[in-house]
Amino acid sequence: MARISGITGIIIIGILFTFRASFADYNYPINNPLAATIVGTPSTMKGILPSDIGVQERTLPILAEKKAPDGLWYNRDLKYSVALQDNKAPLVFVIAGTGASYSSQKMKVLQKNFYKAGYHVVNISSPSHSNFIVSASQGSVPGNLWIDAIDLHKVMVRIQQTLIGQADINGYSVSGYSLGGSHAAFVSAYDSQVKHFNFQKVLLINPAVNLYNSTAILDGMLDNSPYGSEGGVERLLSEVFETIVESFEREDFTEFSEDFLYLAYKEKRPTNAEMAALIGVSFRLSASNMIFTSDVMSKSGFIYPKDEEFGVTTSTTPYLGRLATVNFKTYISDLFFPHFKSLYPEITLQKLIFGSSLNAIENHIRGNPKFSLVTNADDIILAPGELSYLQSLFAGRAWIFPNGGHCGNLEHKDVLEAISSALRTTGKS
């Protein structure tokens, strides 16, 4: 108890004496961006968030035109969650990162943080998440940020309709982390044309600048590692498992948490190649979910036979195995591109790739006071030059922390404070 009030005291003092823009005491301890991405934030440095904010899990009946096959029955309704304030308040839509759902750990943290800052919060899964692809995507082929944004916008309008009479809302904002951050920018750009929500604030947290660049980086982490060959994923997973077993045996740990990971990291000191492979595998698994679902729904015949029924007892194991060696680039070239090429014969791969980068909506973002950015200087998903591009694009409206990797410091108290500040204010110097 004394320890908790001590921490609270430090944080209150911190809030009183720290000017919003300068986090002089920012002390995130991991300087290796790969390690930061995996380990996250040690519990003593986390921001204090309310434990229960009355989150309600909800569903929207299917929005997509196509009916999902029986094998995907559980994804027919779109799942999302809301946390509503009792009084009049602005509402923020939060969009999850690549392959993540509305209820991923990071989404829960953001929901609590925005709620604490006085917002109604609606958490929405990424358009690259299986549930979204099945229930809410018109084309079923995610990754075209403009098309994804239209799907997201439709979902947001439907959710807005269900909230009538349930919440007193004065104004809308949109945010997201990782790919969800890039999606938030595109949703804002689309909304500026249809003028429905007229977002007050758009906050990008650790966004990708160019989807293709970022996925190429993540692909490479696995493909260029010793685990990139056939059977490598299986080998890596068993090695990770063995490491966990060893650490469990030695440390007398009973639960698998960030603190456990941090201690294991400090003690084991895994090599960069090992950590990169681990991040690469994690990305490959979310990509596998996305590609398989997209393939089944769009009947592209990329990996699942297009004329075969997909039922509840159909084995998916061989496809999961094959997808372990399919990278995002292959998805882009063999499923994504042919799909859009058949819809728009004039389109080229270059145009599609450009269309899925922030460059495409640069005119909407640059100098727009509603936009702001929270990211890290060492974010691993940024290609060379992209950090300085973000700095110029969000000049005066960017919180850039020196370390933290890709969302590794998301739960750090200073980062959470920056996220709240970014929504509250109109810009910073």
């Binding site: 995907l72 998440h129 056939e230 080998r235 596998s288 007892t313 998916t316 194991t317 999961l320 195995g321």
Partner: protein
């Protein structure tokens, strides 16, 4: 003493005998030497490849189009290796070495079966790659990997793996059906009841009931710790049971954990695992959920042993049996956070299968 001594001794004897039987089963493994047939098959493969080379030379000299994938030779060799791959899991490096003796360019991988469809992903260009993928998948569709001699081999689950996350799952169709049933049962029956239970029961009562069931479970843990010769742990469990039953008001309050004696659950599945019995094929049990042959057997043994020892003299309350088991089922479900398909992943079945196997391995090591 709640446990009848002569019953326990009798039970112990029976369990040790069955454990020994399982161990004996395991030693019945394939003999460890490469068969003469392997060399002959490799020579045959060499002939096939040579014949093909001559054919191609002939075709080329006649200006006929030569349609031969460069990976074809590798596939022929891989085909031979794969025929022996499963039967000789401990001698795979020798299989590869022997193959390389004949074909220096042969590219071994963890799984030669994969070589038959050698890496269509290297440089895909902009065409659908399904044409490459289908044939190799067709090969495995509907194929059942059952070999009863291997059912209880400790590595039965791993040495058969052809894909990441593949399990030892010969009854996959059945299991998927039950998985689907369980998901629906959970959604429309189990979870609503659990939610209701959690809603109407004050938190301290809920925790108390959970503790009571856990305390009764100590008897099973104790028996299995004895069977695993973990006498220290058995003593701790014995003390926990004694403390919680008396000071903890019949187990309602977990005083022992506060006193520095954390719970350590052991079941007969773990005991079998401890003595080296492999997990056997994956089985999804209706309502109960994912398990495997070893742990499912263990569950039955634990349940029968518990009923046999009858520490709570439940026999005197026959009419209340059902209610008690019902509450226990709800209590167990309430204590597990997992909800079917919350991940939305089309591969949830595989991931659950993989994690359950890993979790049980971890339980046994602890």
């Amino acid at each position: 003493m709640l446990i009848n001594r002569s019953h326990t001794a009798h039970l112990l004897k029976r369990l040790i005998v069955s454990a020994l039987l399982f161990l004996a089963l395991q030693s019945n493994l394939p003999a460890a030497s490469l068969p003469a047939g392997y060399e002959r098959s490799l020579e045959q493969a060499a002939k096939t490849i040579n014949q093909d080379k001559q054919n191609r030379a002939l075709q080329a000299s006649l200006n006929m189009p030569v349609n031969r994938n460069f990976a074809w030779e590798n596939a022929v060799v891989a085909n031979v290796v794969s025929q022996y791959w499963e039967a000789y899991p401990d001698r795979r490096s020798e299989l590869i070495t022997a193959a390389k003796g004949h074909f220096p360019n042969f590219t071994p991988s963890q799984d030669p079966l994969f070589l038959a469809s050698a890496s269509p992903y290297q440089s895909t260009g902009l065409h659908p790659s399904s044409q490459y993928i289908q044939p190799s998948l067709q090969k495995y569709r509907g194929q059942q990997f059952v070999n009863t001699a291997d059912l209880f081999h400790p590595k039965a689950a791993t040495h058969k793996a052809k894909y990441p996350f593949e399990g030892n799952d010969p009854f996959e169709g059945f299991n998927r059906g039950v998985f689907y049933f369980n998901a629906k049962f959970d959604k429309y029956f189990f979870i609503p009841i659990t939610d209701l239970y959690q809603f109407v029961t004050p938190d301290f009562v809920e925790t108390g009931i959970h503790n009571v069931f856990n305390n009764i479970g100590e008897i099973t843990s104790f028996g299995n710790e004895i069977l695993q010769l973990k006498l220290d742990d058995a003593l701790k469990t014995f003390l926990r049971f004694g403390i919680n039953t008396t000071l903890g008001l019949g187990g309602f309050v977990d005083v022992a954990t506060e006193m520095g004696l954390p719970e350590d659950k052991e079941d007969f599945g773990q005991t079998l695992g401890y003595w080296g019995v492999g997990e056997g094929p994956y089985i999804v049990i209706p309502i109960f959920g994912p398990s495997n042959l070893r742990d499912g057997t263990g569950l039955i043994v634990d349940t029968l042993a518990f009923a046999y020892v009858d520490p709570l003299t439940l026999d005197s309350y026959r009419s209340d049996h059902l209610a008690i088991y019902g509450i226990q089922a709800v209590d167990i479900r309430a204590s597990i956070d997992y909800r079917y398909h919350i991940s939305g992943s089309p591969f949830e079945y595989e991931i659950v299968r993989y994690l359950i196997s890993k979790k049980r391995t971890l339980d046994i090591l602890k």
